[in-house]
């Protein structure tokens, strides 16, 4: 018997680990990813591969600099997942350097500067997306209408490479605006929703994903399915998605009832702008969300509230990345104040008052 460390129990462990968890998240994202690649063709596939490979490369470099073992940390799949999530939130035909810069920012600044896995305050993919959006607004808002792979008129493999590497411009005819972008533009021209939405918003098409959007946010239904699988397998907890989507839908409903011309309904809010992607896959990032159940409910509700506020009254049509980053910053505070109640103590941490047990006369049993 040589194994004497660690000496205290438990001497058994639940199956699974970090790698399994990350693996499931990636697996749950695959249908939506595959659909996004199909919908936006070769340039989208190029962008996806570049982002993921760049994320892995930056992870290896960072680990080397930090003098940490590369294999176990790379095998946990977190860098792969960060790259994938970032790619899914980029405009599918964005140039290669957007992908590389984004991946570098996410891994180096978003993660390793804080101390690596588990130490980062903000979701790396969202941090990178915000940085890119602020720095390169043009590239980050050039959306294309779906150009399915192998379809008539969509770019082939060579043309795809040319688009990704900036050798060919994106034809104007192929660009479009997202539905949230359209409504905001409409408001600036004093057009009500009844005038802007027809033609750009069809709930069915929107839910299925046949719309100008980032690569992964399109198919709300596939994302929802993947998210439900994760929930059922207890990879993610139910609190954040339920609180976030619930708050978003609730606010949208209330304001729609007040003025349907000015405020879009809950359906549009839930299935556009990557709400599903964020609710199930990004806000649920364990590192950057609170660790208690009540904390997660508040965190989710906060995300939902901020998304609605930014979309409705903010300068950007799109609010998810900002909302999540802001709530990430609040997560440590939430964890500090919303601790669970300890057994035998009040919420304040004082010992409970001993409950006066019924002081009846003790019954003495006399029987041979």
């Amino acid at each position: 018997m040589t194994t004497t460390t660690p000496v205290s129990g438990p001497h058994t462990h639940a199956p699974g680990g970090v790698t399994t968890q990350m693996g499931w998240v990636i697996l749950a994202l695959l249908p939506a990813t595959a659909f996004g690649v199909y919908l936006f063709g070769w340039p989208a596939l190029n962008l996806l591969l570049i982002t993921v490979l760049a994320a892995i490369a930056f992870e290896v470099i960072s680990l080397r600099i930090a003098k940490r073992p590369v294999t176990p940390f790379l095998m946990d799949g977190s860098a792969l997942l960060t790259g994938l999530l970032l790619a899914l939130t980029l405009p599918p035909w964005a140039p290669w350097w957007i992908a590389v810069l984004g991946a570098g920012f996410a891994i180096v600044v978003g993660k390793h500067v804080f101390g690596g896995l588990g130490q980062n305050l903000f979701n790396p993919a969202m941090l990178a997306r915000v940085a890119l959006l602020v720095s390169f607004p043009l590239e980050m808002t050039t959306w294309v209408t779906p150009q399915p792979m192998f379809a008539e008129g969509s770019p082939g493999f060579i043309e795809g490479l040319a688009i990704t590497f900036g050798l060919a411009a994106i034809p104007d005819a192929m660009t479009g605006a997202t539905v949230l972008g359209e409504t905001q533009t409409g408001f600036s021209r004093d057009l009500g929703l009844s005038e802007t939405l027809p033609g750009v918003y069809d709930p069915m098409q929107q839910a299925l994903g046949f719309i100008p959007a980032s690569m992964g946010e399109g198919s709300a239904l596939l994302l929802l399915a993947g998210g439900l699988v994760l929930m059922a397998r207890r990879i993610i907890s139910w609190e954040i998605p339920v609180a976030m989507l619930g708050t978003l839908a609730g606010l949208a409903t209330i304001f729609m009832l007040i003025d349907p011309e000015r405020f879009a309904g809950p359906g549009l809010h839930l299935i556009s702008g990557g709400a599903m992607l964020a609710a199930f896959f990004i806000a649920t990032d364990p590192v950057t969300s609170p660790s208690t159940m009540r904390g997660r409910l508040i965190f989710g509700a906060g995300c939902g509230l901020l998304i609605y506020v930014i979309r409705t009254w903010g300068g950007y049509p799109e609010g998810i990345a900002f909302a999540i980053i802001l709530m990430n910053g609040l997560a440590p505070l939430i964890d500090h104040y919303l601790r669970p109640r300890t057994y035998g103590r009040t919420r304040g941490g004082k010992p409970l008052e001993p409950k006066a047990s019924a002081p009846a006369a003790p019954v003495t049993e006399k029987r041979p």
Binding site: M1, T3, T4, P6, V7, S8, G9, P10, H11, T12, H13, A14, P15, G16, G17, V18, T20, Q21, P72, F73, D76, G116, L117, G118, Q119, M231, A232, S237, P286, V287, S289, P290, S291, T292, M293, R296, D335, R339, P340, R341, T342, Y343, G344, R345, G349, P351, L352, E353, P354, K355, S357, A358, A360, P362, V363, T364, E365, K366, R367, P368
Partner: protein
């Protein structure tokens, strides 16, 4: 998927480890043949070690007291069989350190002859104090593994009003089936023990509590119970750590033990079913605790079994009786896999608290290198005490023990639910034990420092008093000397000195 909304939970948190009891739950209790030597430690319980009363070469009979309890918290030890004491010397104890404890080594003579043949006692006519005394004399301790002397907990009825006696038959640790078999095979004896304990405590309600994975034992108990007796056998959901006193009380009475208090303070006492059986043997049959039931299990054991084992039998004998091991066990444990302790080797004896000897394979322990915490909060959800293990661990990592204590370190019962679910395989319990040790050391040091300070103060006061006394004595002597001198001078001059002035100056 929405079931979590409707299920009322017995207690917050907890985990569902695979129970792996199927290997032994259907196997009747077998009696292990007497080994060639028995190694009976004098310390098999929480509290002070017992004092050996036998010498090398002395003949002993089964049930003879060979070591007496010393101090308020202690337990006597009895000869597990008849034979000769061949040594009273230190031997390795069943503890991860393998440090030796004083052990009485007995060579059985094979007769297995009892010291006396007493008549069964009319136990329920005895006074509560007498019952507690008999239990103490029989060396009965908490048989669930805690090994706290049982008599002390049976005596609490005189100082507290106990309204509920809870008999813990949950056996929530994976692999273990010794309590399950005991309840099934010796049902009446267990119930008799429960009645005796209830009588001693004066409890109004008594509940025998099983996890719902033991329907046969529950049926057996219920068959022997009748209504109007205020003695019920009930099942609770299977969830670890149901067997923890705090959580069992919460699950069956809805009450919580306030921090820093005992179950008796809220009128509830918890005893293990194995203890109930031992109390029946001790009080009704007047037999001391000399053997116990042990589950030998784990994937590395050839033929798992439930064995009735004389105390002091070495673990290797149990393993040999079960056909040895299939492969070198990755961990050899005394107790269950959640809270059991690693044994340094198989040459340690079975003691009063040994409910299982579990030899686990590498696949069963599923150990992995620890990775950084990803703050997933699973430990928070799993903690049955409502703590945040991840926060405590991160503070302990940076040696901030007070920070960990502020997060409730001292409320941790070390059940291991957090480590069990941690996807990063962080040995959280290890951290907490370490921190508790450091804090205990610190308290001890502080206590010593205060003691020293007090001693120093006393010394200073004493020295001052002495100095003062010396000074006074010196002043007195001086005054006497001068008075003498003056008297002599006066004599020499033969005329009275101006004594008045002199005295004034001196004063």
């Amino acid at each position: 998927m929405l079931s979590f909304l409707f299920k009322r939970r017995a207690f917050q948190g907890g985990v569902h480890p695979e129970d792996r009891k199927q290997a032994t739950s259907h196997l009747p209790i077998q009696t292990l043949p007497l080994p060639e030597r028995l190694y009976v430690p004098v310390q098999q319980h929480i509290g002070a070690a017992a004092q050996p009363r036998v010498q090398t070469g002395q003949k002993v009979l089964k049930g003879e007291m060979i070591a007496t309890g010393s101090g308020p918290v202690s337990a006597a030890v009895h000869a597990p069989t008849s034979g000769t004491v061949v040594a009273v010397e230190p031997h390795p104890a069943p503890h991860p350190s393998g440090l030796p404890v004083q052990t009485i080594v007995i060579e059985p003579d094979g007769d297995d002859r009892w010291v006396d043949e007493p008549e069964p006692e009319h136990a329920l006519n005895l006074e509560p104090e007498v019952i507690a005394q008999r239990v103490a004399e029989a060396g009965v301790v908490g048989m669930g593994g805690a090994t706290f002397p049982a008599a002390i907990k049976l005596n609490l009825g005189s100082r507290h009003t106990i309204d509920t006696l809870v008999i813990n038959g949950s056996e929530c640790e994976p692999y273990l089936t010794c309590d399950d078999r005991l309840m099934r095979e010796r049902t009446q004896e267990v119930i008799d023990g429960v009645r005796i304990m209830r009588h001693a405590l004066g409890a109004r309600h008594t509940l025998i509590v099983l996890e719902d994975n033991k329907p046969e034992a529950l049926a057996a108990l219920q068959e022997h119970l009748y209504e109007m007796d205020h003695l019920e056998a009930i099942s609770v959901p299977t969830r670890y750590p149901m067997g923890s006193e705090k959580h069992m009380i919460k699950a069956v009475t809805g009450r919580e033990i306030p921090a820093g208090k005992l179950g008796a303070d809220i009128g509830v006492i918890v005893h293990n079913v194995g203890t109930a059986y031992a109390v029946h043997r001790a009080v009704r049959m007047r037999r001391p605790l000399v053997s116990r039931i042990v589950t030998v299990g784990g994937g590395a054991v050839q033929r798992p079994a439930n064995l009735q084992v004389p105390l002091g039998t070495r673990v290797e004998e149990l393993l040999a009786y079960c056909g040895g091991t299939r492969e070198t066990p990755a961990r050899l444990l005394m107790g269950g896999p959640m809270m059991g302790q690693i044994m340094p080797h198989a040459q340690v004896p079975v003691v009063k608290g040994t409910n299982g000897v579990i030899a686990l394979t590498a696949a069963e322990i599923n150990i992995d290198d620890p990775m950084p915490c990803i703050r997933c909060g699973r430990c928070v959800a799993a903690c049955p005490c409502g703590l945040m293990p991840l926060e405590m661990a991160s503070r302990i990592r940076s040696e901030d023990m007070d920070g960990a204590a502020a997060y409730g370190l001292m409320d941790c019962v070390a059940c291991g639910s957090c480590s069990y679910v941690c996807p990063s395989h962080i040995p959280l319990v290890q951290y907490f034990q370490h921190a508790k040790g450091v804090l205990a050391d610190r308290r001890e040091q502080q206590r010593r420092q205060e003691e020293l300070k007090e001693l120093a103060q006393q010394r200073r006061a004493r020295q001052e008093a002495e100095a003062k006394a010396k000074a006074e004595a010196a002043a007195r002597k001086k005054a006497e000397r001068e008075a003498k001198k003056r008297a002599q001078q006066a004599k020499a001059k033969e005329k009275p000195a101006p004594a008045k002035d002199n005295e004034k100056a001196e004063a």
